[in-house]
């Protein structure tokens, strides 16, 4: 019986010694930090998109047709009007038109106005897009 008690005391001493060597609060973390996981990526694959370049720029805006596209957000149209005024002042021989979309969160070319929009866009030499924020 005494022999078992001695073993029990010895066992407790070993455990206490191990605890005293562990950094504060790390007794349980020590075990988990040694477990290695191999984990899968959550990032979804997407099909590669064919990339498109942008259209050649103009040599000068003078004498050109410049379009201002204002979307449905409330600041877009006042910004377009402000730019129209300035552009007309800077380039009196240019034509500056505004296309105002009232379609919420829909690309204009996907609306019933697509033909009118397309004709307007194609009729300009350059377009400034305004989104209101």
């Amino acid at each position: 019986m005494h022999r078992f008690r001695s073993l029990w005391v010895l066992g407790m001493f070993v455990i206490l010694a191990a605890v005293s060597q562990a950094p504060s609060g790390m007794l349980f973390a020590m075990d988990s930090s040694s477990i290695q996981y191999e984990v899968l990526s959550p990032w979804g694959e997407a099909d590669p998109k064919p990339l498109k370049g942008i259209s050649p720029r103009l040599g000068d805006l003078s004498g050109k047709k410049i379009g201002l596209f204002a979307n449905y957000k409330r600041a877009a149209l006042p910004i377009a009007i402000s730019l129209q005024k300035q552009l007309r002042s800077m380039y009196p021989d240019s034509q500056v038109s505004i296309y105002h979309s009232d379609q919420w969160n829909v690309t204009e070319i996907e609306t019933e106005n697509r033909e009118i929009f397309k004709k307007w866009a194609e009729g300009n030499d350059a377009v400034i897009l305004l989104v209101g924020d």
């Binding site: 984990v39 979804g44 942008i54 259209s55 720029r57 897009l129 305004l130």
Partner: protein, 421 residues
């Protein structure tokens, strides 16, 4: 982009805080080099002087953007998108969490490591193969395969029994009627609401009673969290880049509730929406506001008046507690009549009340949901969204795998047991 495709040079002006969003949108449409200029005008400004000053300041850059010759990269862009190998990382719990957080793959909370074993177990929640694409999730058009949904579900702490709901959720988000494309990335910080009906509610322990919208229930918490991670990691809607929610919304962590069909005096929501009672469904829309109120009186008139005073409008959803629903039903109100009363005053069975109230706009009664849920008490909840962008509530059937009964049995005891004190 469509104007550039017509051959007309374009420059886009965006508030400086939205330039990265615009660049990401352009990249997603295959035109990563579109010229975008920051505009120093407050978002949605109504101040003419500020607009004049901002446009004058931007004018030299606008002219330059429309006249500066293209670089070779702009003529023929070569863009490397960020792809990720299937095995993302190897490390211990803390290292994995740091890696995922720093990769922008979490919601800020620690994640459960999505090991091969855990993901395989998660996929026992469906009969669909790992490479089956449920939908392509916008804005990135990332492929929501069963495996990717399962990876994000493991990260969120979900159970395999939650997989059927998650698959239905992805199907719902891909349904154009939700207008997920707009709501998920909108400045209005709209959050997806998921209302669950059918026997699955009890099988996977979805809370529809006390505190159903509060933390503490694994299904309510993990399903919504998993959807958030799916949107972020598969759809690529990252906060402040593509998701431009101005203030944000805590409901983006989770907004999942069941309907208390058993204590409701009315037919269940999914039956009202054309499904059979024994079917399992998920109903989705995008509110950004949640308010709660106690009625002035606890009779039917008091409850109905309180609901009206909460000012529901198109695309709203009331959470009515079972005791209130019973009072209303006992007074003769069907769910349809209540919706008509709340949305169309002219058809109200409470005309005497209307004579003393302020005029209000009429809305289509079908643009209102009423869900019976919540615990004992006297509060009513209202989730408000907005209509008018060809959006609608969407209800999807939840499809169960062949091994469903075994799965439910396996996880049936995963419920909290609270100690008394």
């Amino acid at each position: 982009m469509s104007i550039e495709e017509l051959g007309t040079p374009v420059v886009l002006l965006a508030n400086s805080g939205f330039v990265r969003d615009a660049q990401s949108a352009a990249s997603n449409k295959g035109m990563p080099v579109i010229r975008i200029l920051p505009l120093n005008v407050a978002c949605e400004s109504t101040v003419p002087e500020d607009i004049e000053a901002g446009t004058a300041e931007a004018m030299p850059d606008i002219i330059e953007a429309l006249t500066r010759p293209l670089t070779d990269h702009e003529k023929s862009p070569k863009w490397s998108t960020e792809e990720s190998p299937r095995i993302a990382f190897k490390g211990n719990y803390e290292e994995i969490n740091r890696f995922f957080y720093k990769s922008g793959w979490t919601d800020g909370l620690p994640i459960v490591p999505p090991t091969e074993e855990a993901v395989t177990e998660m996929m026992t929640g469906t009969d669909l193969p790992a490479d089956h694409v449920v939908a392509k999730v916008i804005p990135r058009q990332g492929k929501a395969t069963i495996e990717k949904i399962a990876v994000n579900a493991v990260m969120a702490g979900a159970l395999p029994t939650h997989m059927p709901v998650l698959i239905a959720a992805v199907e719902a988000l891909a349904d154009q009627r939700t207008r997920f494309d707009t709501f998920e990335v909108s400045t209005g910080s709209w959050a997806p609401f998921f209302g669950v009906n059918g026997p699955i509610r009890d099988q996977i322990h979805i809370n529809y009673s006390s505190g159903a919208l509060s933390p503490g229930d694994m299904a309510n918490a993990a399903i919504g969290r998993a959807v958030g991670l799916i949107v972020e990691n598969i759809g690529g809607a990252r906060k402040g880049i593509e998701d431009m929610g101005v203030i944000g919304n805590p409901a983006k962590y989770t907004l999942v509730i069941g309907e208390n069909e058993e204590d409701s005096p009315w037919e269940p929501l999914h039956v009202e929406r054309g499904f059979r009672k024994e079917e399992n469904t998920l109903t989705v829309f995008f509110p950004n506001t949640y308010i709660q109120a106690v009625p002035q009186g606890t009779d039917a008139e008091g409850i109905a008046k309180a609901m009206l005073a909460m000012n529901p409008w198109g695309m709203s959803c009331f959470i009515v507690i079972p005791s209130h629903a019973k009072i209303l039903a006992d007074a003769g109100w069907t769910r349809k009549e209540l919706k008509e009363f709340l949305m169309k005053r002219s058809e109200s069975p409470m005309d005497s009340f209307w004579e003393s109230s302020q005029p209000r706009a009429e809305f289509d009664p079908d643009s209102l949901l009423i869900v019976v849920a919540g615990g004992p008490g006297a509060w009513t909840g209202l989730l408000r969204s907005v209509g008018g962008i060809k959006n609608d509530f969407v209800t999807k059937k939840i499809r169960l795998p062949r091994n469903w009964d075994e799965l439910v049995e396996k996880y049936k005891d995963v419920v909290p047991t609270y100690a008394r004190y």
